[in-house]
Each structure stands twice: as structure tokens, then as C-alpha cells.
């Protein structure tokens, strides 16, 4: 461990970046109070001693929290052994740790909805502790200070079934398999009825309709980059133990396609590209075409530049992946084939070891529908 904090630029930047959070915390008299620390430490040890492993919301008025004294409080073990405590999931305690109100309430299974409810309770003058499995999340005056992003058992159980981020390559393979299924690939391509009307718009004779459909069934919907990105993002977040940052903008307002972080806060970024042809945004003529020259080397460079920019900002990027959806009419070589790493600049080379070009995701409209 590097103990030379004052001369460590990474550490100094970390503080600078977190200045607002740090000052919010050190100025928070509730979080700083003996009462809050006693309650937090007590709840923490109860979770550790296996006294509890489900879900419970414990609330205390801010006034009561400030009155908690170590010599006055009852035993946490007694509280957790209490039948009322076991049965109810919304418990109000006073400063002596006695239950003064209890409720068995149905909270949303969606963590975001549940979070909003707890945040609201805390805005009404109640410090709100959420015990979920072995974690404590808490809200003070509406501010979320959570150890875990989960606020419902349904969500946490679903998450626990997911795979570790180091298995991301296996999940990519699963995804490639999944987009061979009709219900999954059909969302990428324009509908059959649209293809038929396009033939008319392009003034192709009716007797050539079948031939036209066969030759154009690979036509992607307008803005396919959005559909591909959202579909992959959804798949990854539902199969991996990761969290996503919905929109991450770099300084020049370039948007990173998929930006994931794992439970240790380490970051993975994914740049999504496509090759093939899309429909024009008005839907009446053919639109953009991308081929492998758009990928190799431009998209490689672009991803490496993102890595560099984030690295300069002190973000700990573990890996960057370049994903290409291949919707070209013909079966062609991988778009990353023969990428020449010798053409990288010196600073791009530094980041190349963190870079992965994933084998193209082939998308074929086997049956236009």
C-alpha cells in the first residue's frame, strides 16, 4: 500500500473528484453523531453474526438518532430476537432501541422504485436503514448512502444467479447464440411489409418482389446502432454481476456505448459498431452502408482513444471491447481480420493490452417477418 498520500497524484485526484461527497459527509451531523455510529455498528454486527439474512427497513427519527447513548440502549441481540421485529419489515425504533411502530408492507420488487420510497421516508425526518442480506443501505435527508445497489430481495437474488464479470467472453458467446433466434434477431431488421412497400417506393416491378425481398431482407432498421447497443446492454446486465452507467459522456461529448462496472468499481467499456446497410430514416429508400473499412482500423483507434482519455482521468479501466454486429448480406471475414497493431501510435500501444476485438456478432434475417 502506498502511504505517501500527499505526493501521490492519483490519490490527490481521487480526493478532488470526490470533494463534494467528502464535504457532504463531514458536514453531516447525523452521520457524525455517536447515535448513528452505534446503530450502524450494531446493525452491522447483527448481519455478520448471521442474526439476519433477509430484508428489513429500520427507521429512526433524526431526533431519536441524536439522543442515542451507548449506556442507555438495549441489546441488539434482543431486538433481533423479538417476534415483532422478525415478522414485520418496516420497524420504527426509538433512541433506546425499542420498537415504537411496526408494519408489514409490500415494497416494490424493483430496486429503483423501492429506493425512491426509502429516500422519501428519509426526507420526512427519518434516518432509514435498509438491511438486505449482509449489506446495510441507509438514507439521511433523502441522500442515498448505500453499500449495495439493491433494495429488493427479488433483485438481489436475480443478481446472485448472474455470472462473474471474468466470464464476460462466455456471455458474449451466449449472446451470439441468442441472436440466432427469430424472436431476438427480428428486432434488428425492417419488417416484411416495409420491404414490400420499399419495393414500390423504389419502383421495382411487382413481379420482382420475391427477388427484391431476398436481396434486401438484411436491411436494418434506421439507427441500428441504438438497437444493437441497447439489446447487448440489456443482455449483459441481466447475465453478469455488473452495473451500468446509462450514459457516460467524454469531455468532447462523445458517448461511450456501454460502460459497466463490477462490484469493486472496476470499469469495463464496450464500443458497439455495425456493418451492413440500414434503411433511410424516412423509410422510403436505402440508407447508410458500413463495411469493414469503417471498422479496421478506425473503430480500433476510436476505442483505444477512449481508453486513453479515461486513463488520463484516473478511471481504472480493466478492459475495453470492440463489438461489431455483422449484418452484411454475404458471409464475409471478421471485420477485425489482419488488424495491424504496428500502425498504432506510441500512446495507443500503451492501451492496446487492455483492448479486445470480439469476434463479429453475425446477425442474419433467416426469416423476414
Amino acid at each position: 500500500m502506498d502511504f505517501n498520500f500527499k505526493n501521490n497524484p492519483v490519490f490527490l485526484n481521487l480526493i478532488k473528484d470526490k470533494e463534494e461527497q467528502i464535504l457532504a459527509r463531514t458536514n453531516n451531523e447525523i452521520q457524525d453523531s455517536e447515535g448513528f455510529k452505534i446503530i450502524f455498528a450494531g446493525l452491522k454486527s447483527m448481519l455478520k453474526n448471521n442474526a439476519f439474512s433477509g430484508f428489513k427497513a429500520i427507521i429512526m427519527s433524526e431526533e431519536d438518532i441524536m439522543k442515542v447513548k451507548i449506556e442507555d440502549i438495549a441489546d441488539f441481540n434482543n431486538l433481533f430476537a423479538d417476534e415483532d421485529f422478525s415478522y414485520h419489515n418496516l420497524i420504527t425504533l426509538n433512541h433506546k432501541l425499542f420498537i415504537i411502530d411496526k408494519e408489514r408492507r409490500s415494497f416494490p420488487s424493483d430496486s429503483n422504485e423501492a429506493r425512491a420510497i426509502f429516500s422519501e421516508i428519509s426526507q420526512k425526518g427519518f434516518v432509514t436503514f435498509i438491511l438486505i442480506k449482509k449489506q446495510i443501505n441507509y438514507f439521511i435527508k433523502g441522500v442515498d448512502n448505500s453499500e449495495s445497489p439493491f433494495f429488493s430481495l427479488t433483485d438481489i437474488n436475480r443478481y446472485n444467479k448472474k455470472r462473474d464479470i471474468n466470464e464476460i467472453n462466455d456471455v458474449f458467446v451466449e449472446y451470439q447464440e441468442s441472436i440466432k433466434e427469430r424472436r431476438n434477431y427480428c428486432k434488428f431488421f425492417i419488417e416484411l411489409s416495409h420491404l414490400k412497400s420499399l419495393r414500390e417506393d423504389l419502383q421495382i416491378p411487382r413481379d420482382e418482389e420475391e427477388k427484391f425481398i431476398k436481396a434486401h431482407k438484411h436491411l436494418l432498421r434506421n439507427k441500428p446502432e441504438d438497437t444493437f447497443r441497447d439489446d447487448l446492454r440489456l443482455f449483459l446486465t441481466s447475465h453478469l454481476r455488473v452495473f451500468q452507467v446509462k450514459e457516460f459522456l467524454l469531455e468532447n461529448m462523445r458517448r461511450l456505448d456501454i460502460f459497466l462496472y463490477d462490484e469493486f468499481g472496476e470499469i469495463y467499456l464496450i464500443e458497439v459498431k455495425w456493418v451492413g446497410q440500414s434503411i433511410h430514416h424516412l423509410g422510403k429508400k436505402l440508407g447508410t452502408i458500413y463495411d469493414s473499412t469503417n471498422i479496421n482500423p478506425d473503430a480500433f483507434f476510436q476505442t483505444m482513444d477512449y481508453l486513453e482519455e479515461l486513463d488520463n482521468k484516473g478511471q481504472n479501466i480493466v478492459r475495453a471491447y470492440l463489438i461489431v454486429f455483422d449484418a452484411r448480406q454475404d458471409d464475409l471475414d471478421d471485420t477485425g481480420l489482419n488488424f495491424d497493431s504496428n500502425i498504432l501510435t506510441e500512446s495507443q500501444t500503451k492501451h492496446y493490452r487492455k483492448f479486445n476485438k470480439v469476434k463479429d456478432f453475425r446477425v442474419i434475417n433467416y426469416h423476414a417477418s
Partner: protein, 208 residues
């Protein structure tokens, strides 16, 4: 009273206070090694928060072994408390067995200012550690710079807390300086809060 006996009694008081505070935050038993580590951290962190004030627990003398710092007076006191049935010891740790009335008398510090100051300080340290749990005390202790320095020397001897070269103190001051360098106005951050921020940071490094 003989100084050794006096120090043993002070240690008994300290351990009973620590066990009782632990109980209040849900630590039913505390392992003897944890008692050594809690008192070690209390002593090593005191100078940072209280500046030049004389260390109120300077009767503890620690040496290092691979499982952390230990002080012979703490081990003597643990044996004393058990043999006098103030505590019981099993594989989970030490537990208070003393009746409430006697306990309250022992804890009473209304006529003893030094005892009161010590109790306040131990409470700060216990609540700081309580945020992470008893099982994390070992990690904090073995990551303590003064301990690391001592255990790494070829011939570990008594840990010197008083020297101006006190590694922990220097590290904590460097930590504080880093905040003062990066944040415009740090006047709202107290020394105790620096300790909390430091432990949070160390903890985040431990779980990496």
C-alpha cells in the same frame, strides 16, 4: 499502590469497558487478540487526534508478532478477569459475566477524569471499528505503518510510539495534508473525521 498493580487495574477497567461497549454494538464476545489490537490502535491513533497531549494509555507496551501487536499486561489482565469470574473465555472469545450492579460500579467514571477521557477515546475507536466489524480489526492492525515497520525489522522490539519518526503519525499527517492540498476549505473536517476517512480508504484497499 505498586505501579504494576495500578496498571493492571487500569487495564482491567479498560478491558471491561471495551467488552461492554462491544456488547452494546452486538459483539457478544471479543477475542483476546482483538482486545490487543483495539488497544494498540487506540494508542497509536491517539497522538494524531490529540496532538501533543500526553498519551493517556501510555502504560501499554507493545511488541509485534506475525498475528499483530501484543502487550503482556493485556494478557495478564485477561487471565486476572477470568480467574476472578468477571469474564469467561471460550473459543469465540471473552464474554462479560459480571453482574450489572458491579459492572456499573466499575464503569463509573464520574469521579475520575482520566478514566472518563479514556472511555471516551475507546468509544471513538470502537465505533470506528464497529463500522466494519470485529473480523476486520486484524486487517487494519497489520496494515498499520508503525506495526509494519516494526515487524519488518530483523529484531522486532518494543514498538516506539513516542519517536518523532512515528510512522503511523506521519502517514496520517500525510493523509490529512493530501486533503488540505486537494480541497479548498477543509475546516469542517475534524481529526476524528480524518481517521474515519483514512479507515474507509484502507478498507477499500483491503477488499480490492
Amino acid at each position: 499502590m505498586d505501579n504494576n498493580i495500578k496498571e493492571l487495574y487500569s487495564t482491567n477497567d479498560d478491558i471491561i469497558f471495551i467488552l461492554n461497549t462491544g456488547l452494546k454494538i452486538g459483539w457478544e464476545e471479543i477475542k483476546p487478540q482483538s482486545i490487543n489490537r483495539i488497544i494498540y490502535l487506540s494508542k497509536v491513533l491517539y497522538t494524531f487526534v490529540k496532538n501533543a497531549e500526553p498519551n493517556i494509555i501510555n502504560y501499554y507496551h507493545f511488541t509485534s508478532n506475525s498475528s499483530g501487536p501484543f502487550s503482556s499486561i493485556i494478557n495478564k489482565s485477561i487471565a486476572y478477569l477470568e480467574s476472578n469470574e468477571f469474564t469467561s473465555l471460550d473459543s469465540s472469545g471473552i464474554k462479560l459475566t459480571i453482574p450489572n450492579e458491579s459492572l456499573n460500579k466499575i464503569l463509573d467514571s464520574s469521579f475520575d477524569d482520566i478514566k472518563k477521557q479514556k472511555q471516551e477515546w475507546y468509544k471513538i475507536i470502537m465505533l470506528l471499528l464497529g463500522k466494519y466489524g470485529e473480523n476486520k480489526i486484524f486487517s487494519f492492525t497489520i496494515n498499520d505503518p508503525l506495526y509494519i515497520e516494526n515487524i519488518q525489522s530483523n529484531d522486532p522490539k518494543e514498538i516506539d510510539f513516542e519517536s518523532s519518526e512515528n510512522k503511523t503519525l506521519n502517514v496520517l499527517n500525510s493523509f490529512k495534508d493530501a486533503f488540505e492540498k486537494s480541497i479548498n476549505d477543509t475546516s469542517s473536517i475534524s481529526k476524528e473525521e480524518y481517521l474515519e476517512l483514512y479507515f474507509d480508504y484502507i478498507f477499500s484497499q483491503i477488499i480490492k
